[in-house]
Symmetry: C2
């Protein structure tokens, strides 16, 4: 039998888990204080829902669960691999949320502000920092068209990051309608918009010249390409310039959001417009945003408006917008840095065999101040104290002996 966890997934040691719990608790506390409420959905969804969810590249990464019993036998006999599975593991928390809202909207307030902190699964190629099972921390607002939702999600997510000690980041925003209007205004055809977006998305990697070359290689109009390049070459794009490029209306809305978010940020973090921010997920329809943080190696949160997704279930579109913190990258960096939890103090009560019940009752009285572990006393108490100190205990006492506390280590 294999002792290691399956490839791309991880076990967590107690110290790691304490840090994970503390970070998650702080994030959830921030969300709750801001009026969001936690919900939960199964990690398993019907394969039909997953396959039809417009999740872009993620659809290729779904873990598929085989049918059971006779249904499986039939599927195998048919020789058709597409018939083998009826369930799958969710690749994000947005699709299950859209399904959830459709099923339960009569029991939910309008707008509905919710928290999801849960495991998701993607059969990624194994590589550093890419996990196949990982936790996402999402907040979403469903049922409101107001762009205040966007400002709210940005501000609450930023606050959550600040509350776990991340202060140096910037929020990058764009709007699908802005980029679309600009592309069309430059002279690209309707059916070229997606392809142009995919190229623009690469700007931070291949540069302005790289984008120009790729667009021309795709045999798009040279004139349209030049017009677009003029805009992309600008250091900062203003509302006026976007108006000149035919995107006045959506840009006005977007810049309004940015201004509200900036007022709330009060100079503590930046909010910047970036026309090259595309974000892959097929289901985004409006604003898209990311939080970028150099000391964490890039994007630590992402989201956007997805007004069409719920309609796929209910037949009736419901405005929706969400922001998701990529918990694993944050945990991984903090963990590598040796971040410690500020949890409760730990004490060990050493007892001799035969006096367990009395030692247990004695230990219980200490719970108000300490997490208390009962351990059988060894002959060499001094050595045992040393081991307990190494294990991170703050204090130890031998029950039924001197009953005097021995403070361990120099923790404070």
């Amino acid at each position: 039998m294999r002792a290691l966890p399956v490839e791309g997934m991880r076990d967590y040691l107690p110290e790691e888990m304490a840090l994970r719990d503390e970070l998650i608790n702080k994030i959830v506390k921030t969300y709750k204080e801001n009026g969001f409420r936690r919900i939960s959905t199964p990690a398993v969804e019907s394969i039909e829902n997953l396959d039809n969810s417009d999740g872009g590249e993620n659809l290729k990464l779904i873990y598929r669960i085989a049918k059971r019993g006779e249904k499986l036998d039939k599927a195998v006999a048919s020789g058709d691999p597409s018939q083998l599975c009826d369930l799958g593991l969710r690749y994000d928390l947005t699709l299950p949320l859209a399904r959830y809202y459709t099923a339960h909207q009569n029991d939910l307030p309008v707008p509905f502000k919710c928290i999801q902190v849960d495991r998701v699964y993607r059969a990624e190629r194994p590589q550093k920092g890419r996990m196949r099972e990982f936790i996402q921390c999402d907040i979403d607002i469903l049922g409101s068209e107001s762009v205040d939702c966007e400002a709210e999600l940005m501000s609450v997510t930023a606050e959550a990051l600040q509350n776990i000690g991340i202060n140096s980041f910037k929020i990058i925003v764009n709007h699908r309608a802005v980029i679309r209007a600009v592309i069309l205004h430059c002279g690209f055809a309707e059916e070229q918009v997606n392809s142009v977006c995919i190229t623009i998305d690469k700007l931070d990697k291949i540069g302005v010249e790289g984008v120009r070359e790729e667009l021309l290689a795709k045999e798009f109009s040279a004139e349209a390409t030049e017009k677009l390049m003029t805009l992309l070459g600008l250091k900062e794009i203003t509302l006026e310039q976007l108006a000149e490029y035919g995107a006045e209306e959506p840009a006005k809305e977007l810049f309004g959001v940015i201004e509200a978010a900036r007022t709330i940020a009060d100079g503590k973090y930046e909010i910047v417009f970036d026309i090259t921010l595309v974000r892959g997920q097929g289901y985004y329809t409006g604003t898209v945003f990311e939080i970028s943080c150099d000391e964490f190696g890039g994007t630590v949160a992402g989201g956007g408006r997805y007004d069409g997704l719920i309609g796929r279930f209910s037949g009736k579109d419901v405005p929706a917008v969400g922001f998701s913190i990529g918990f694993e990258r944050i945990f991984s960096v903090l963990s590598d840095r040796g971040a410690k939890t500020d949890g409760r103090k730990k004490a060990a009560v050493l007892y001799n065999e035969g006096s367990f019940a009395a030692a247990y009752t004695y230990a219980k009285a200490l719970h108000s101040e300490y997490d208390v572990t009962l351990v059988i006393a060894k002959k060499k108490i001094g050595k045992q104290f040393g081991q307990l100190e190494q294990q991170g205990f703050d204090a130890a006492v031998v029950f039924d002996n001197d009953k005097e506390w021995k403070a361990l280590g120099n923790k404070e």
Copy 2:
């Protein structure tokens, strides 16, 4: 697309999730105060580990995950269904823990006292109260042969139940070696022990006469059956009687555990020996225990010693014992009873469009006392207040208007 969750799995509304979170937090807090530390393993295990885990009936209920890419194509072409899957969802938290301990024991203290609160999966036939995705709350002590571990797990689990408001329960214990010694002493053959156990396990359903009939129907010795029935017919079985039935040594140990646990229980709950307690899981080797609670319709927790399971990974047996709270039954009963959380107070701040940023900053100052939801003010404020009250808000204020709190409802 399907709006309902997959069969046998559940979505949780915000009120339900708040109750679940609160119950879990109280259980975990109890565990931590008693020196147990939380760990985490993936929900996905290799199918090889799951299939070879001696998990009894649960092995038939494993959700199996199909291979991906070329490996799947090959498996389908082979026509052999057993080749289709390489992964599966865990059916409990004990098997992953055994794997975990083997992989990480050099980084873990001896004994290792750990908490696992996590989702597990079983493809059960759908029926009331049987979920296909559910949460277990486990504590385990690994690396210690001391029977104090048994007393500790019973006492800590009992404390966790008390801390979530469950006070009327009894702990039932047995020991595999006791029942085995008794069966052999009655004159059954070695190879009949398991079959006799399976029948004895049914005593609470079919009664003493039913057990007698079944044993005779299995064509076991009439003499052995009568001898066993004499013992099973007793109202309470004493240590002396067990000694007469050849089980003196294991019974002494077990009654020592019961005595220690009773001292700790201090009359607040019962601990009783029950020779008919078998528990299905194939991997138990010593003490087995359950907590039974009439108002929750039966068993709410179960566990036992499984000294052989870790050896399946490491080749070297490690003593191990665990106790698991069946969270879903407890949640389901408390939820049906309308149990409320004692969480933070909720306030709504109503604002007018255009003043979002100012309202956000205003709301933030209230977080010390309330979870605060920002909502766009409607024209009919009175009606809106009524809706907020129905949604469970404790207070509401219209920002930029009177800025006076309106307390809602009669919550206290």
